[in-house]
Every structure is written in C-alpha cells, then in structure tokens.
Point group: C2
Chain length 218, copies 2
C-alpha cells in the first residue's frame, strides 16, 4: 500500500471536485485526508492524502486529463511537515506563558527530528471558549489541549468531555476554580510547566507517560 | 445565497465521499471549503463550508439518506471560530518571544469581537523551514507569516517569494542576516514588537496600514 500527498490546482468550476473524487474512487484509492479551499485568485486548491495507490503515474495522468485541472504536485504530508499539534485556549496573559513553555520544549524535540506545532487563540467568555473546544473535533492532528484561564466551567466542561469522547486528546488545565479541572487529565499550577508537560505528554523523544502519574495536580 | 457549515460523520467505506460530493454537485451547491479526515474510531469526519444552498433542509435530508452517513450537524464556520491566522516559524527562543507579542496583541483584538489565532512551529535548518513555508499555500486562513530566526536565506527566501505570489500573505522578518529580509514586507528587530505588528497588520480594529510605512526596517 502506497501513501502519497498531492495538491491539485483547478479552475473554480462546479463539479470539478466531483469529477476528481469520482476518478479516485474508480481507481479504488482511499482518501485518508483532504483539505480543499479557494485561493484568492479563484484557483481551487485541493490537497489529498491518498492510501492504497497502486499506479501513481496512471492516477496523476488521469487527473491531469480532467479539463478544469491546471496542475498536480506530489509532496510531503502535512503531518510530516507540521506534525502533532498542541492547542492552547484562554486569556492572553496565560496563553502566552503556556505557549512559551510549549514552544521552548517543542524546539528541544523538533531539533531531534520530531515535528510538534503549538497553536493558540486568546479567547474569553464561556460560550466562545466552549465553541472553540467543540470545534477541535473538526481539526486534524490535535493531540493535547491546554486550558489556560483563571475560571472555566459550565459549557466549557461539557465541551471538554465531548471532545475527549470524540477524539483521543489529552487535556491539561491550569489550576483554577471551575469544573474543567475535574475533567482534565492533569492540573498544573505554573503555566510554563503546563506548556512543557503538554509537549512532553505527546513527544516520542520524552520519557514521560501521563497515565503513570499518581497525582493529577501539581 | 446562503452559506452554511456542516459536519458529516460517516462509516469508513469506499465511495462515501464520492456519493456526498455527487449529491452536493447535483443540488448546484458550491463547496467553498472542505476538510476531511478519519477519526481514531474509524469514523470519517467530513466538514464542508457550502455556498449557494437554496434548500438547506432538503440537502440535509438527502445526505442523511446515504447509507454510510451516520449524522450531520450544522454549525459556525472555522473562520467564525478561529479567524485569521498568524504563523511564526524559526528557533524556539525567538518564536516564543514573537508569540508572546502576538498572543498579547491578539487578546486585545479578540476581546473586542475579532478572532485572531497565533500558530507556531519551532524549526531549524534551511530545508525544513523552506518546506514549512512552502506548505503554507496548502493551509487555510493564513494572513501573516513571521520569520523568527537568526539567519534565513537561500531556499527559505525562494519559498517566501513563492508563497507571497500564490497567496495574499504579509511577511514580517526579524532583523537578521540572510536573504529573507529582502523579500519581507517589514523587518522588525524586537521579537515582541514583531509579534504585535503581525497582529496589527491584519486586525480590523487596528489603525495600522503596513503599506503606508515609509521605512521597512525598525
């Protein structure tokens, strides 16, 4: 089984995605990940990670033959390039401190050949943070979430429970009032340490297993 | 014209994406953004942003009738939730300082109703950074890139030129040796300020127009 990643640039015409998926489906190739959007210049950008490709050259030739297709490129997968994602939500002061810990620790692992990204959004308000947590189930490569606020509960707690059920995500919370600490896998008081441990919990080169911790609060 | 965002959960069966895009295409609905991946439990997660939806209820009913479809949910778009993205690449020390400036500034705009995310990866090496810059053209919602290193040129410069041509991205570089400063829109010496100006350059609530700056280096 061969896995490849391709980007197909197309004219913005109705039915072009349909034509391409049709063709892929006919070749018994499986689309394991896709990402499709319109560029500013009205060029459609279609990124596919494909499994079970038996005849790469044949498939690429067939896709090129579709009228609206302008180009097709083969390249590394987004997972090879940006890797596992640490996500940090909360107030600006705390998010920036957790990010500092996480980026510094990710640097130490990426230098040894891993790929770990640190993605953040400073947000306030129960509804807005709950919405951002909930939408994580629609994003790829998310491995750990750090809740970096001073008071989080209610709908945020419910959203955390749901995303943990839907996806295999580790949740680290700062030590704070509110229900989220009850559903987090780990509670860390120092934001820098929270960022470091978030990265350690998912890094291949770290000797740290979050499941072996006897206490959950530090 | 109605725009909606939907997530469709399906069984991991061949042809299901083909069935769904077929149906959408038949309804003359346009897919403006799609994001498709396999969840850990072998459930396919298909996220679509759709334009030109005339009969939402009818479309949803039709999609639900496809055998492999388990559920379909309507919700806010990823742009409404995570908004514009600031991207920071470079060495850990500098990326973390730029991130601190950017997250703190994004906090000040998000509090007033905007949505700005700050996404980072600490990376070293000409090839690897060039690859990460190049792959930006495959990611959505990227508005500004900050190059946070101490020496960047060669293939990185070429990748920056290419991504600026493909997408409408602002590029800010720290003040450093190497060719990237020649292709950047703005060169900032202080990493905290570089992060702040990256956010200001894309924020709706900031009175700052990068094009009006007489000097490019600060």
């Amino acid at each position: 089984m061969t896995e490849i990643a391709v980007t197909i640039k197309t004219l913005d015409e109705k039915g072009v995605l349909d034509d391409i998926t049709n063709l892929i489906s006919k070749n018994s190739v499986n689309i394991s990940y896709a990402h499709i959007f319109l560029e500013n210049n009205d060029i459609g950008s279609i990124y596919f990670e494909l499994e079970n490709v038996k005849d790469i050259d044949g498939l690429i030739k067939d896709i090129k033959n579709i009228n609206s297709v302008k180009s097709i490129d083969i390249h590394d997968s987004l997972n090879d390039i940006y890797g596992k994602r640490v996500i940090i939500f909360g107030g600006g002061a705390q998010v920036s401190q957790v990010a500092m810990g996480a980026i510094t620790e990710a640097d130490r692992h990426n230098i040894r050949g891993e790929r770990i990204s640190v993605d953040t959004i400073p947000l306030i308000g129960e509804e807005d943070i709950a919405g951002a947590v909930d939408a994580l189930s629609r994003l790829p490569r998310i491995k750990v979430l750090v809740l970096a606020g001073s008071l989080m509960g209610g709908k945020i707690t419910e959203a955390v429970k749901k995303v943990k059920k839907d996806k295999d995500i580790i949740v680290i919370s700062l030590n704070m009032p509110g229900g989220v600490t009850e559903v987090a896998d780990l509670i860390i008081t120092d934001p820098i340490q929270a960022g470091i441990m978030a990265v350690m919990s998912i890094a291949d080169t770290a000797k740290f297993d979050i499941k072996k911790l006897k206490s959950k609060k530090f």
